[in-house]
């Protein structure tokens, strides 16, 4: 039995029945990781001893509460003893958090992100820190100071980005689930390219405290898992109001498992024609259409619809996100933490050389765009105008959700592309996020679930979008469609080579 390929909810059941130990799970995950790290480069950091000692501590805890199985005292958490891997832009106390950047290559946080504190309180097992595009800027995971991550389905191809590590690690069975972050599609697009489930929750549902900021009004942490049930469980574990995040939502539901039922009869599904247009591969459109047919056969009502302002979404995003980023990344200056050019003899030359050497080209490009858009004389034409167009996009969504329960679209316009294929053309790389970006601009929840494989055996993902805080509709729809699609494929061939 390969524990590292089992869903987290099954592992939980087996742990409760004492059929396996947390250490068993950790050992198998470690074995897989040791075998595939060289091939995939999914992790930036993992430490065998540290992982095993956490697993043993979880086992001790499970043993301690052994007598109270049937008590409803909530002591049995979904993630007690379950390994979770974490994207390396989420702060972990005493464990390096690099954002895949040279500028933070030796940075050790002195505090835990709120999501980490919550998982720690469940006695989870941190399996390690995952590779990503530097500061979450990218769609291919090629912008990492620690080298690119490879797609487990085809190691010559990218896993998507920026949560390339989290998607690849879960797809390859290195770990049952992981946490990523999504600013313009950084969870859903790699999940789609790696054939796993990636959820971007409603903005504010999960605390951003401890997530190294890229674009503060868009960033959101979310789970990457191999199935919808694990996604709901992991979201339940990390969501909820946080006094350390002014933008976290107070209230809302915190047990998303209750929405995992197989019934979408009468569900009204809208399909934005703008996301099924020329820019999207034919095979992907076909796969999404297949899913829509399934949905209809299950009693859902499917209609094409139009959200005309979507044509501006990519532009709005590439003004707002870099603008916020240019300010967020100012703090990396070689004074309090991180890399510093020690040869510089004056402050300004230290700043400039530190940042020039510490940041990679894509990060610098975005800092430059953002600085320009905010600078005197250009603010109104770029940043403020983009904020106004953002309102139009939100209004289009509002209108659509007046008519439909959910919107369904592709998660990505293409399947995984070759490493190096787009790395010299920023604009065509930016196009990778056209299906996912509008969702972030409106702060909505959306999930990507696998809908099939392309002719050359590459995963395709379908995106389900719902209105603010309607994660219930997301889970109900995703759970029903997951069953109907019955994707159930993993890149197990990796282990055979």
């Amino acid at each position: 039995m390969r524990l590292n390929f089992l869903p987290a909810y099954e592992l939980k059941n087996m742990l409760q029945k004492r059929e396996i130990s947390s250490e068993d799970i950790a050992s198998q995950c470690l074995k897989a990781t040791e075998r595939l790290q060289g091939k995939l480069n999914a992790y930036i950091y993992f430490d065998k001893e540290h992982m095993l000692s956490q697993a043993r501590a979880a086992d001790a805890y499970l043993k301690e509460i052994c007598g109270s199985f049937n008590k409803k005292d909530g002591k049995y958490f979904d993630f007690t003893g379950i390994p979770v891997a974490v994207k390396d832009n989420i702060c972990t106390k005493d464990i390096k958090t690099t954002c895949a950047s040279k500028i933070l290559s030796d940075y050790v946080p002195v505090y835990d992100a709120t999501v980490i504190q919550r998982l720690k309180s469940q006695k989870y097992v941190l399996s390690g820190k995952l590779n990503m595009d530097e500061f979450a800027m990218g769609s291919s995971n090629e912008n990492s100071a620690f080298g690119p991550v490879k797609n487990p389905w085809d190691t010559e191809r990218v896993p998507g980005g920026s949560s390339g590590g989290p998607a690849a690690a879960v797809a390859a069975g290195l770990v049952p689930c992981s946490l990523g972050s999504d600013t313009g599609g950084s969870i859903r697009q790699p999940a789609s390219l790696c054939g796993v489930v990636g959820l971007k929750p409603t903005y504010g549902l999960v605390s951003r405290y401890g997530l190294v900021a890229f674009a503060s009004s868009l960033d959101q942490i979310g789970p990457i898992t191999r199935n919808v049930t694990d996604s709901a469980n992991l979201l339940s574990a990390i969501c909820g109001w946080d006094e350390y995040d002014s933008t976290s939502i107070n209230g809302g539901l915190h047990d998303y498992c209750q929405f995992l039922y197989d019934n979408i009869k009468g569900l009204k599904i809208g399909v934005p024609q703008e996301l099924m247009s020329g820019g999207v591969d034919a095979a992907i459109k076909e796969s999404v259409n297949g899913v829509l047919k399934l949905a209809e056969s299950m009693g859902a009502v499917v209609e094409m619809t139009s959200l005309p302002s979507f044509e501006y979404a990519l532009s709005v995003y590439y003004i707002i996100a870099p603008s916020e980023a240019s300010s967020n990344l100012s703090r990396f200056d070689g004074v309090r933490y991180g890399y510093r050019n020690r040869d510089a003899t004056s402050l300004r030359s230290m700043y400039r050389s530190t940042r020039a050497e510490g940041f990679g080209p894509e990060v610098k490009r975005r800092i430059m765009i953002g600085t320009y858009c905010l600078s005197s004389g250009y603010y109104d034409a770029y940043y403020e105008k983009a904020q106004r167009v953002r309102t139009l996009i939100i209004n289009d969504f509002k209108k659509a959700f007046g008519k439909y329960d959910v919107l369904i679209s592709p998660s990505s316009p293409t399947t995984a592309f070759k490493i190096g294929e787009k790395s010299d053309d920023p604009l065509s790389m930016y196009m990778s996020d056209i299906c996912t970006i509008p969702v972030n601009l409106a702060g909505l929840p959306a999930i990507s679930i696998p809908s099939g494989l392309s002719e050359n055996n590459l995963p395709i993902g379908v995106q389900i979008i719902a209105d603010t805080l309607r994660e219930d509709l997301i889970f109900k729809t995703a759970y029903s469609l997951e069953k109907a699609i019955n994707f159930n494929k993993l890149p197990v061939h990796l282990y055979e080579q």
Partner: protein
């Protein structure tokens, strides 16, 4: 027509405290120009009556009570300092 000139890029680099070599500068100037040309399509959008959105959340008045929380131990505050002097962070000559 060029949207952004090399001179402007130099000015922006200064504001952003980034050094670029001449070669990098000409490359990034043309890349920025491409990107800015692309994003310029938003000028076509009719935003009359649309307020700017900074936030998708409709929340306000989020406050913290004025209660003291434990500060970091000094050593933790200085733990990641690239260069320190005594209990302070050391920076080179301010110019």
């Amino acid at each position: 027509m060029k949207i952004i000139s090399g001179q402007e890029v130099r000015h922006i680099a200064k504001l952003a405290e980034l050094d670029f070599s001449e070669e990098e500068l000409s490359k990034i100037t043309s890349q920025l120009d491409d990107i800015l040309e692309h994003v310029a399509i938003i000028t076509r959008a009719d935003t009359s009556g649309a307020e700017p959105t900074s936030h998708t959340l409709k929340i306000s008045n989020v406050f913290r009570e004025d209660k003291v929380r434990q500060s970091l131990a000094k050593e933790d505050a200085l733990k990641n300092a690239p260069e320190r002097c005594g209990d302070g962070f050391l920076v080179p000559k301010i110019d």
